[in-house]
Symmetry: C2
Subunit: 293 residues, 2 copies
């Protein structure tokens, strides 16, 4: 069993990015610039955005953090999005989700210039990804593809079961795994709350990508000997022994599942670090105008 070390892969990729940024600067190019809009003080969002700022430093990017309180209006936020769309120094930007309920997340996402949409949530990027065209691919699915590549995990002809059908993980993951390329060319099954026989489906899987947000949903009796397990779950479970008062819990019962696997990601330290790393890759692509002029 190989433990997939997302932290190490992310560090290696960020180092490669930093080297490329140095080359760009030496050639007289512009330093990539990522901006983030953060609304309110949600604990998870604060952590993510903090890590994004740190990663920008590691990659040699300029980063800008724009904060609003929970009572920001949709109009104010749209005005800020417009400002970033038109700021020639900002290569890419994200609006950290979730947003307060009085603001339409979809409206904000669609207001972002797709050429700066490094989260890959704009319908144009979602559509181009589905068709197989170059575009910003959303961070978590792209991070998982990078892990497959880094560990040379075969995907062609493999049966990949995706648990969950969210717009940001399950659906794009399924689309990516069925594309005509590596990683891809897998037979893909998507399971969700309406699936009647998830255990059977999982038992046939060569690769399971679990993104349900249900702690320890995938148990050892659901996993075939030698399977590859990618755990996207990061549910916060109360834990009095931790300073923070919680620990992150994956969708996979790691201790019992791991011995059966060929490859498995831990939580934390598996998919999580790759997510931010993908955002950095997208920002570098934005800076280089790799996908769009």
């Amino acid at each position: 069993m190989t433990l997939i070390d997302g932290k190490a892969v992310a560090t290696a990729i960020k180092q490669e990015i930093a080297q490329e940024v140095e080359q760009i600067l030496r050639a007289g190019g512009k330093r990539p610039h990522l901006a983030a809009i953060l609304v309110g003080h949600d604990g998870g969002s604060e952590t993510y955005v903090h890590n994004k700022v740190l990663s920008c430093e590691q990659c040699g990017f300029t980063s800008t953090l724009i904060r609003y309180e929970d009572d920001v209006t949709e109009a104010e936020l749209l005005a800020q999005v417009d400002k970033l769309n038109n700021d020639p120094d900002v290569d890419g930007f994200i609006v950290q989700l979730p947003l307060p309920k009085h603001i339409s997340e979809q409206k904000i996402i669609e207001a972002i210039d797709y050429r700066k949409d490094v989260d890959g949530f704009h319908p144009i990027n979602v559509g181009r990804m589905a068709i197989g065209l170059p575009c910003y691919i959303s961070a978590t699915p792209n991070g998982i593809l990078q892990l497959f590549k880094y560990y040379n995990i075969e995907t062609s002809g493999k049966h990949c079961v995706v648990l969950g059908r969210s717009n940001i993980v399950g659906k794009p993951m399924a689309q990516l795994m069925m594309q005509k390329r590596y990683p891809g060319d897998a037979t893909v099954t998507v399971c969700h709350s309406h699936t009647t026989n998830i255990k059977e489906e999982c038992l046939k899987a060569d690769i399971i990508i679990a993104a349900l947000g249900q702690p320890h949903f995938v148990t050892a009796d659901m996993v075939k000997e030698g399977a590859v397990i990618i755990d996207v779950g990061t549910t916060r479970v109360p834990d009095a022994t931790r300073k923070s008062g919680f620990r992150l819990c994956g969708d996979v019962d790691f201790d019992n599942v791991a011995p059966k696997c060929s490859f498995i990601t831990p939580v934390p330290g598996g998919v999580g670090p790759m997510t931010i790393c993908s955002l950095m890759k997208n920002t570098l692509s934005a800076g280089k105008k790799e996908f769009y002029k």
Copy 2:
């Protein structure tokens, strides 16, 4: 076994559309207008476009057919697309595919104003469909959804196997069948040329949607008793007994598979007529500015 009569369903839906058009006109509204660009003289394309013009008449739409010879340049075609984008009388238009090899189909598709993209091929419509937002859904997948509705075929929790991963049928079909709604909520498996055990996958399917373009690929030994079979295949097979010199052949070995099914579509007369019917529905939506202002 129920034979799904796509021709009858399409006729019924076109009658409903015609009635709605009459109401729109009576209320002082504008007659929906579909334009089609046809390049060259490909037999299949000629037939499709001819049928589209006929269907427009049946629905009470205005239709415009713009023809070019095979030697049309990409620039000329782009100029025509631009003209239709800016023609306020044209509600929606299509560019009949395939195009000659010297023209980039993707470039033409992306040049179409997504608000007039009644084929649903523009990345914005593909992306919105994946996310589950209102949009033009491409004609064949949407036609299949209409058949499920018309025959009250249960899809929730069913195992749906999609054979083929094309951008216009397989991929969108998979996306639609996993959405949180009816028809949808199915467990979806997508199989393709790299799938190693298609027979086993099919044998577990409650619903098979075959879109491989391989005549009689799905045989009786691959089908579970009581399955629903949707045959998207329309390969032209030489047939000296026909005036045209060919007949349309589906992906399913109909004669042997049909007795095992609960529902099955014939070829021709199944999915085919629904495809044009979906285009008519999209044109009506375009005329009503249902999805976009």
